[in-house]
Structures are given as C-alpha cells and as structure tokens.
Amino acid sequence: MAATSISELDFEKFREFFYRKTDIQFEPSKRYFVDKRLVERIELTDSGNFRTYFTKLRFEASGEELQLLTNLMTINETYFFREEYQFQCLVKSMLPDITSRKSDSSPIRIWAIPSSSGEEPYSIAIYLLEYWAGIKNWDIEIISSDIDTKILTQARKGLYSQRSVQYLPENVLRKYFKRTAENYQICDDLREAVEFTRVNLSERADTRAYRNFDVIFCRNLLIYFDDVSRKTAAETFYDALNPGGYICLGHSESMSRISSLYKVRKFPEAIVYQKPLEAK
C-alpha cells in the first residue's frame, strides 16, 4: 500500500479549515509538524487518503475527530514566564488601568485557570513582586484552579524541573527557588501566596462563587473545548469579572470568535479582552 501523503494543496485546505474552527494558525514552517499528525490520524481512522479524512473531519456530527486532532495539534506544555508579554501587559497596562478606577482599597483579585502544575500563578506572583511598583500600595489575591486534584497537589508542592524554570532570569531563580538534588523548590512565601482550588469550569455549582475578579488568565484551555463549552466558559468568566475586568487567553485563542460580550483591548504589550465598564 502506498504511504499516505499530504500535498501542498491539502495542507493549505487543512490550514484554512483548522484556523476557522480553532483560530490556530499554522505557518508553512509548521508543515512537518502538521503533516505528521494528519498522516497519523488518516491511518488510524482507516481513511485511506487526506480527502476522505478531511470530509470526515468537516462533517462528522459529533465533532469528535476534530477535537481529537485539535488535542494532537496543541502541545500541552507549561513553564515559568510562558507568554511573558501578557505578564508585562498585566503590570504595565491592565493593573494601572484597574487601580486608576478603584474607589476603595479592597484587594485586586486575579484568577488563573487552569493552574496546571502551578507555573502560571507563581509566574504572576513573581512578576508582580519583581516588576510592579504598585505592589507597595495594593493587596493582591491570586486564586488558581484546576479540575485535576493530582495536578493541584503538585502545584501546592511547588517543585520544578530545570526545563520549567529555564526562562527565568538568574536573579529571579536565585531569589524565589532553592536548588534541590534534581529540582527547584519554590519558596514558601510564594507557595502561601497562591490559593489553589479545584474547579470544573463546566460545572455551574463549582464556578458560582467565583466573582469579583479584576483579571482572569485562561490560556490554552478553551482550545480543548467544543464551541458550546467555549461559549459557556466565556459567559462564566463574564459573571466572574468586575466591570472593566480583563481576561487573557493564549496567543492562538481569540475571544472574538467565542463571544461578543467582551471588548478587544489592544495594549502595546498584548491583545486582551475586557468586560465592558458599563456592564451590569
């Protein structure tokens, strides 16, 4: 049997379709990465060729194959200071805007979901301590949630590999981590600064209490959801945010394609989404 191959035209068709469905855009430089996964799925589904597989992908009523392929096409990895431009945006643009509007001294609340093994919420904490002068004047609460209780336990422990901390500046690494035999242990002050909670974003009973947040980080999670779940999550965040609050998605995600409830805010550092100030 001839080996399955993906032509230039196949790649373009898939690229356009996948972008429309997920907002994830593959550059031509990703051709090998994309082809490899497409060929794998074509063979595992006994589709025989790209055309048959592509038809299945587009018209399958359940959308299961598209979801499976989306999972394969997204690399689930996390590390400290990943997509750092959003943390820069937090301290340079979002927090100055939020504090300029605050009429009382109540804490600024940040929700990071999913917490995964904790790199993101701890990165936020470190970024605030290192790069935001406003920390002298404001209290900040960081709550981080995940559906997976095992990963939450791991996050609370705060033990990381060399790979996880590889993008941290040396001085930051020395200041907030202690080298162990094989890993890096995050300091107790940071471990105590982040509240980790178990939340299923699709479960209303879980999310109902999550309110009055000023900023939500939800990066690289919604791409794993189907359209309805994505929209439901966006609506949940809407009620979790204060008017004027911000939501940050992953670089390949776009709220505009999920929900019309948010305003796009183009800051110098990043594009984020804002619950309208006049929202009730």
Partner: protein, 207 residues
C-alpha cells in the same frame, strides 16, 4: 501591601440562597431587574427541559446582550422543538444582533435543525432562506451539500443562489459540479454568478 491569600471562593451552599432554584422561581427570576440575576436564572434553567418556552419568551424582549447570549446558550443546550422554533422566530426579527445570535446558536444544533432545514430553505422570505444557508456554513451535517445543490437548482432568488454558491465552493464536491453548471446557464447574464460558479467549480476540481 502584598500578595494575600483568602478563602473567598467556596461553593455556594443551597441553603444560603434566598430563593430555591426550582423551575418556577427561575422563570420568575428571568424578569428580575438585575441582569446578573437574569443571567444566572437563564444559566440554571439548563437543568429544566420544560423551560424553553419561558426562555424564548424572554429572549424576544431581552435588551441586555449578555443575558441574551446566555439564554441562547441554554436554548442550544436544551435543543428541543420549542427551543428550535424560538430560534427560527428570531430569524424573522428586525433586530440584526438577535438574528445573528440565533444563526450562531442554530449552527450548534445539526441534528435538531436538520428536520426543519428544508422548510427554512423553502421559506417564502428570501432573507430567511439566506440565513438558512448561513446556518449551513458551519452545520456539521452530511446533507449540507445536497441541500445547497437543491437551493441552486430551485431557488428563484439570485442572492440566495449566490450565497449557496459561495458556500459550495468551500464545502462542495464533484457531486455539485453539474448543478453549478446548470446555475451558470440559468443566470447567463449575471456576472457575479458567472464568476462565483467558475470559482466554486475551480475549487472543487482542484480540491
């Protein structure tokens, strides 16, 4: 000032609520002055399969886009005949936002919309027929291509056919080729149809 830790995000116990979350109370809450209360009522009505009529009724009058969006999500989840009929009514609305929101909601309901699609594509109002083609754009259903072929073979309205041709260029296969050629012949004096059918046939042939 500093990073502080609080325990404010605890699940809300049922006994802490002012009103029980039964269907009747939630329908009353849909009329509350506070949009947050209306949003949560619409969200919680997902648990009640008989709630579609009340949601559709509120949808037609709801002015807050955030409440409307959640009502539409709940109607999509319920997806019963009443919900689908309510969404179809929205296609006839003068409100552009409501109409577009209903189209997006219906795209999520391939199995529920399929039985009424032929009726929508034969609606007396050409705008409704165009909206029906718009729904097909992202409707994951195996009949999409044959519905579009029926449209270009039978629909007397140029704009409806043009919308269907654009979509066929994207989702069509060689099965649509003859119908596209028939349409091209039917509208021999319409430059846009000539251009659009040629483009659709090129895409199908190359695809």
């Amino acid at each position: 000032m500093a990073l502080i830790k609080t325990q404010t995000a605890q699940p809300v116990a049922e006994e802490e609520r002012k009103q029980s979350r039964d269907c009747a109370n939630l329908i009353v809450a849909l009329e509350d002055d506070n949009p947050t209360v209306r949003r949560w009522a619409a969200r919680d009505l997902t648990d009640f399969p008989t709630a579609s009529a009340a949601l559709v009724n509120r949808l037609q009058r709801e002015e807050d886009v955030s409440v409307r969006e959640i009502i539409l999500t709940t109607l999509t989840s319920l997806g019963d005949e009443v919900a689908v009929a309510g969404l179809v009514d929205c296609l006839r609305s003068e409100g552009v936002s409501l109409r577009n929101e209903a189209i997006e909601a219906m795209k999520q309901l391939p199995d529920e919309v399929a039985p009424i699609m032929q009726g929508l594509l034969a609606d007396a109002n050409p705008d409704v027929r165009i909206f029906a083609v718009n729904i097909l754009e992202s409707l994951r259903h195996p009949e999409v291509e044959s519905w579009l072929v029926t449209v270009i073979d039978n629909d007397p309205h140029l704009n409806v056919c043009a919308t269907a041709v654009d979509l066929l260029g994207e989702v069509g296969s060689s099965a649509a080729r003859e119908a596209l050629l028939r349409l091209k012949a039917r509208y021999a004096d319409e430059p846009y149809i000539q251009f659009a059918t040629d483009l659709a046939i090129k895409r199908i042939t190359e695809g």
